[in-house]
Each structure stands twice: as structure tokens, then as C-alpha cells.
Amino acid sequence: MRKVRADLHLHTCLSPCADEQMQAKAIVKQARRMGLDMIGICDHNSAENVAAVMKAGSREGLSVVAGMEITSHQEAHILGLFGNESDVMQMQELVYENLFGESDEESFGPQTIVDEWDRVVGTNHKLLVGATTLSVEQIVEAIHDRSGLAIAAHMDRERFSLIGQLGFIPKGLPLDAVEVGQPSSARQNYGYPVITSSDAHFLEDVGKSFTDFLVEELSLDEIRMALRGEKGRKVVLN
């Protein structure tokens, strides 16, 4: 068993609200510098930069989890973390079918697609900052259908968190964990396992918050076991 330091919620330059420097190589380099073993890429309602960061990560021996931060129609944010790129791209298909409107770069910021060498290869024109027409229940179910982990994002913030938007976690919602940003919030009892991550939109915030997992190897299945406390895997409270 080994201790793995993970920051599972990072944005890239694809998110209109994230800094343009949040590109694949740059993120991987900063994550390494911050001592992270594993990162998760969770842009708003899109996963078009996931592959680039995964490739950049594999060059540097950094484990990159394919993810997405999905906005429910109630404007609650749910993270989906997936075992591979193809599962997240399937999730993206469903999200795109339920996400309407065109983004306006002037108002919301650019949505840049890059490759693993930080070359700009395109622009996304969907309204990624918008809400999908999916309910939190539908999002959680769709994530699980694709063998992913469903995690309610930044529960210690009012805006765009499940608790802020909906007052409390809907009874019986089968979340795999909830996420907080402040380590001090991690001891609160949400009734679910708690992870801490940075939700970084700027390079200097990568790894500012993180979760230590005790696992056998760097994989989503191991993270799942740690969240469930199975076979000695666990979340290490710092």
C-alpha cells in the first residue's frame, strides 16, 4: 500500500472561467512541482482537453483521471470521474445533447482546446458555463452507467453546490463522495466520504488542496475502493 496525493478537480483553458495558462503540459508540470501523484481534469460540461492532459501526464509519469464537472438544471455541480477517456467522451455526448446555447467569448471568456504540447487546436463554442437540462439524479445515474464516480462538488461553498442550490443532499442520492475545498471542512459529516480538492482555475492553485489516498496503485478503481474503505484502502485525513 502507498500514499497517493491527488487533486481530482482541476480546470483547463477549456473552461471559460479558467486562466489561459491552464494548458496540458503546464498543468502537469505544476502538479509535479506540487508533489501530486494524480490529478483529475474536470472542465465545465466538456472533456475536450482531457486526452491532451492524459498524454502530457503519461510522459511525466503523472496519473490523470478523465473527468467532467457537470451542471444540473438546478445549477448544482457534480463531478464525474471516469476510468478512461472513452467513458468520459460518452458522458460528454449526453451532456452536449442536454446543453443549449452558444458561448460568447467577450462575456464568459475563451474556451480553448489544446493538444498535449500546449498547441491550440480549436475552440469550443457551446455555452459551457450554462446549465444542462439534466437533474442531479439523472447525472449521478448517467455517471454510474459509465462506471464513473459521482461526487458533489465544493460542498463548502454556497453557489453552485448541491447543498447551496438544493438546501440539502436529496435523500438516497447515490453519490460516491462529496468534495470540499477547505481541509477544515473535510471533517464535517455529510453522510458520504469526503475528498478535498483545489478546483483550480489558475496554475498557482493546482494542488493547493488535495486528498491523500492509501491505495495499491494509481487507478480509479483503487480510488473507488478507498472511498468505500475496502481491503485496507482508505482516505487519509491530514
Binding site: I163, G164, L166
Partner: protein, 115 residues
């Protein structure tokens, strides 16, 4: 003022708890953050919102609100209707946007704070 009167004057649709329309409305509160309503809603308030999730019923019930009005022609989710029937919470719907509805409620005497 009673709910029935507001329903008639503002042409509201009723989606649940039709047996509970004789309630007195003490005031009003408008918000789409349920955590905010939990913190600031008062007993007897009429709540104006666009949220349609079943959690609205739990919050109305917990805070003893007089009822919920959904704006802009939004319809409650089926689970919300079922829960509202079970907990006797009145859910109403209006075609009006929130600003217009709140203005009309105010002119009918439903206030957001003590005057």
C-alpha cells in the same frame, strides 16, 4: 390574505394540496437558493422560486411556509408533487416571470418584511 384569494387574483395554477388553500399568507420570500430559504424563510411566507426539485417541498414543510409559487411556467417534478401531496404543501404555478409576480403580490399586500 388567504391563498385562495391570491390564486384567483393572479390566475395561479394549483399542482398539489388543493385541500389546504384556506391558509393565511403572512408575507413573501423570493429566492432560488434553497439554502438561503432555509436560513431566511419565515413561517407563513409565500415562496417564489424557479426551483422544481422535490427538495422545495421539504423546505416549505420544515419552515412552515404558506405555499410555493413556481414562476415562468415551470412545472414541479413528479416526485415533488407526490411529496407535496403527502406533506400537504401547496405548490402553485404562474406564467409570470418572478419580478412581475413579486410586484403583483406586493401590490396585493404581501410584503417581504415588516412595515
Amino acid at each position: 390574505m388567504k391563498l385562495t384569494e391570491l390564486i384567483r387574483k393572479l390566475n395561479l395554477g394549483v399542482r398539489s394540496a388543493r385541500g389546504n388553500l384556506e391558509q393565511e399568507v403572512a408575507g413573501g420570500y423570493a429566492s432560488d437558493l434553497l439554502s438561503d430559504v432555509l436560513a431566511h424563510g419565515r413561517e407563513g411566507d409565500l415562496w417564489v422560486t424557479l426551483q422544481v426539485h422535490q427538495n422545495i417541498v421539504a423546505i416549505a414543510s420544515m419552515k412552515g411556509l404558506a405555499g410555493i409559487i413556481l414562476v415562468n411556467g415551470r412545472e414541479p417534478e413528479q416526485e415533488a408533487i407526490e411529496k407535496a401531496e403527502a406533506e400537504n404543501v401547496v405548490i402553485m404555478v404562474s406564467e409570470m416571470p418572478a419580478f412581475e409576480l413579486v410586484g403583483r403580490l406586493y401590490s396585493l399586500g404581501v410584503a417581504g418584511m415588516e412595515r
